[in-house]
């Protein structure tokens, strides 16, 4: 079943890709057949990567490493395979699933990110995942700012079968997290997921609020939060760099999840981010339903990025 789901996801990724990258792919096919990699070809490749949001610098680096190599066989397909392999090599080391350490119960996962990236939905999906693994989960509704954020989370808690610890709108998020930890501890929960309000990374006041949540949680358990997940939206472009940098500064981000990969955005910025920060990529979001969370498959991601065929065996 997981296999089928995976194929659907890949299928959808590639479908999206073929829609958005059609003209480019055709361009490359046209150029490669029976020719060597000239400057125009390399530029086409760079364009392909740039249009997948990889950013100019990273795209140039990757393409220039291809340029020095010999390509034989069916050039069009081979060049993409090569590109995909290079990208996979960058991403493989960071494709690390989120492991819950049961010895640390409640294992505290703080979820942060810019407004609307998919934090709350991802928490619903994570809760579902952990519960299906036999863990007990509690969710802290520390987004006390956005209208109806608490109601939204409560619906997800119900769907996933997780407790939701909530207070009134406007309550202090750090205090709420503190109390949610105590409740999770008392109820012997394995995992505590903390939802936070979306915030732009350049708002220092709001970033300080995150720092405070971390500080206060540490009063309960000096090893917590055990995981700090930054949720990124695949639709976002180069601003992801700033998001990772500044959220990391504020709250020691330990891993990333990229959402909305079911659209046509290809999230190439993750490659540049992996090179620059080396942060684990725990999972990707591919839809709005509870089951739409996938482990991060570096190879599949890389191939979807450049429009390469899936290997027969997979």
């Amino acid at each position: 079943m997981a296999e089928a789901a995976k194929r659907t996801w890949l299928g959808r990724l590639r479908q999206g890709l073929s829609r958005s990258a059609d003209s480019l792919s055709q361009g490359i096919t046209g150029i490669f057949s029976g020719r060597k990699l000239d400057d125009a070809t390399l530029e086409e490749l760079e364009d392909l990567l740039v249009s997948a949001d990889m950013g100019v610098d990273a795209a140039r680096r990757i393409v220039s490493s291809i340029a020095s190599r010999r390509i034989d066989g069916n050039a069009a397909a081979d060049i993409r395979r090569l590109l995909a392999e290079d990208i996979e090599a960058i991403l493989s080391p960071v494709a690390i699933a989120l492991e819950i350490d049961p010895a640390r119960a409640p294992f505290v996962v703080l979820v942060v990110g810019v407004n609307g990236t998919g934090k709350t939905t991802t928490i619903g999906k994570l809760a579902h995942l952990f519960i299906s693994q036999g863990l007990s989960v509690s969710i802290a509704a520390a987004d006390t700012f956005r209208a109806a954020a608490i109601d939204q989370l409560k619906v997800w808690g119900e769907r996933a079968g997780a407790d939701v610890f909530a207070k009134d709108v406007g309550a202090d998020p750090a205090g709420l997290a503190f109390d949610a930890w105590a409740a999770a501890k008392a109820n012997k929960k394995d995992v505590l997921l903390i939802d936070t309000a979306g915030r732009l990374q350049n708002k220092t006041g709001l970033m300080a609020e995150l720092e405070k949540i971390v500080r206060v949680i540490r009063k309960q358990d000096s090893t917590a939060p055990h995981s700090v997940i930054l949720v990124l939206d695949a639709t976002t472009g180069q601003n992801v760099h700033s998001q990772v940098e500044l959220f990391r500064q504020a709250c020691d981000v330990s891993g990333l999840i990229m959402t909305k990969l079911d659209g046509t955005a290809r999230g190439g910025v993750l490659v540049a981010v992996a090179e620059r920060f080396g942060l684990p990529i725990h999972a990707v979001g591919v839809g709005e339903q509870m089951g739409d969370l996938r482990h991060f498959d570096a190879g599949a991601f890389a191939r979807a990025l450049v429009g390469a065929e899936e290997p027969e065996s997979a």
Binding site: Q152, V155, N239, G263
Partner: protein, 456 residues
């Protein structure tokens, strides 16, 4: 990254500055950097290519104005073309239809539709004195209708009562019906977020459009959107026909290239900017502001333009002569303050200069603005003609009198006099620049702002 970019562009334009004329190869070199700048600002590749080709065409043909350097000329052509493509003027919402006038809000998941719907409703009600109704057609995202209800409450705008289980198109019809009965002028319809490639949901929103025939169909998009912007805007436009775009999260530190991409691919005006989470954080679109942001450098061209507009040529010549002789008196200083104020105050002036973000912040923090300039003018205004020509006569009692006249403290008078001394030293430097026959360049203008006015 941002600063590196400025430097890179700065280096190319700097090289151009020293050359005589604007050659094809110079333009090409400069535009290579502009291309990178645009891509890093998230302008979609296809749009960048088109942009560069057109600017190349324009710039090479263009004659370099005598008073402007070739580098400035390229920037100006790039900037002007950017503004032109963004849509030179801001376009308001079209509400000319029989009431109730429907406004349909569409977009991807999490782009800011619900917040923007509430912001628009509040603005139309408060500023335009319209009777506005809000309705959420989002039956998919948990608590989405509740979210709009709460925002409506905050905005003081009534919302359509929620009926659980009703389908979006039925909610839309019910909203229009209720609005008609209750005499509302405008109905803002918030919809669920959807992917532009989700056929079923795109059909759904097309059906809603057909049912209500909105006079505005606004795409709400995140200003932080990357290369996908052309696909998103293109598909939404193709499926339902947009009339405008609202860009959210302009308060972020993104460069906003999506504005150009979306505008280029749809031809629709960008009508509104979301600048914060609060409901009053909604602004009209100003192309040149976004253009400067996308380009990633201060708008030197408009500085030059503004300077030309506001500095009377004769005045400048007279001043220059005085600087050269070291005869800068308080009358001249008052004139400078007036000029600065006309140029948008110091923060306005600084906003036009590249690389002064820090100083800008300090100015904002110290509230060194218009009011300060006016106060300085008032102090000088309270002096006698003789005092203005020679500050040496200003003893304690005269200073007290002046302070009283201007409604300030005596320390303010002292501070101004100290500034005057420092500025007149500065002026002599500008005077030397003037002697070389360059006239008042942006650089010399920057020198007009005494550094001690920036708190250290």
């Amino acid at each position: 990254m941002f600063d590196a970019l400025q430097e890179r562009l700065g280096a190319v334009f700097g090289r151009l500055t020293d050359r005589g004329a604007l050659k094809e190869s110079d333009v090409a070199e400069a535009l290579r950097e502009v291309r990178v700048a645009l891509l890093e600002a998230d302008v979609s590749l296809s749009v960048v290519k088109d942009f560069i080709a057109r600017v190349q065409e324009k710039a090479v043909g263009e004659e370099v104005l005598r008073s402007v350097t070739p580098g400035q000329m390229v920037i100006k052509v790039v900037h002007d073309h950017l503004v032109e493509m963004l849509g030179a003027e801001s376009v308001g919402l079209n509400l000319r239809a029989n009431p109730p006038v429907p406004i349909l809000i569409v977009g991807l998941q999490g782009s800011g539709k619900t917040t923007t719907a509430a912001k628009i409703a509040m603005r139309l009600q408060e500023r335009d004195k319209k009777k506005v109704y809000l309705a959420s057609l989002d039956v998919y995202r948990p608590a989405a209708q509740e979210q709009l209800r709460v925002l409506g409450e905050q905005a003081g705008v009534p919302t359509l009562p929620i009926i659980a289980g009703q389908m979006p198109i039925d909610i839309a019809r019910r909203a229009m019906q209720a609005a008609k009965l209750q005499g509302f002028d405008i109905v803002v319809l918030d919809t669920a977020g959807r992917l532009h490639v989700d056929g079923a949901l795109m059909n759904e929103v097309a059906a809603i459009r057909d049912a209500v025939t909105p006079s505005e169909t606004l795409l709400v998009a995140d200003a932080l959107t990357g290369q996908d912007a052309v696909n998103v805007a293109g598909e939404f436009h193709k499926h339902i026909g947009l009339t405008g775009i609202a860009l959210t999260r302009i308060d972020g530190d993104g460069r906003g290239g999506a504005a150009l991409s979306m505008r280029a691919v749809t031809g629709c005006p960008i009508k509104l900017l979301g600048t914060g989470e609060k409901l009053d954080a909604l602004e009209d679109f100003h192309p040149s502001r976004i253009a400067s942001r996308i380009l990633g450098m201060g708008d030197i061209v408009s500085l030059v333009e503004k300077a030309q507009e506001t500095i009377d040529a004769d005045d400048a010549a007279r001043l220059e002569k005085k600087f050269l002789k070291g005869q800068f008196d308080l009358n001249d200083m008052a004139a400078q303050f007036r000029q600065m104020r006309r140029m948008g105050g110091m923060s306005g002036l600084m906003a036009l200069l590249p690389g002064v973000a820090k100083a800008k912040k300090q100015i904002a923090e110290s509230q060194l603005d218009d009011r300060l300039l006016r106060r300085q003018e008032a102090i000088i205004g309270s002096m006698t003609a003789k005092e203005r020509l020679d500050i040496r006569v200003l003893n304690g009692s005269r200073r007290r009198r002046i302070a009283g006249g201007a409604g300030v403290e005596i320390q303010d008078v002292n501070r101004l006099l100290k500034q005057y001394k420092q500025i007149s030293t500065m002026m002599k430097k500008v005077g030397k620049l003037g002697k070389k026959g360059k006239g008042l360049s942006p650089e010399s203008l920057r020198n007009l702002i005494p550094p001690q006015q920036f708190p250290q």
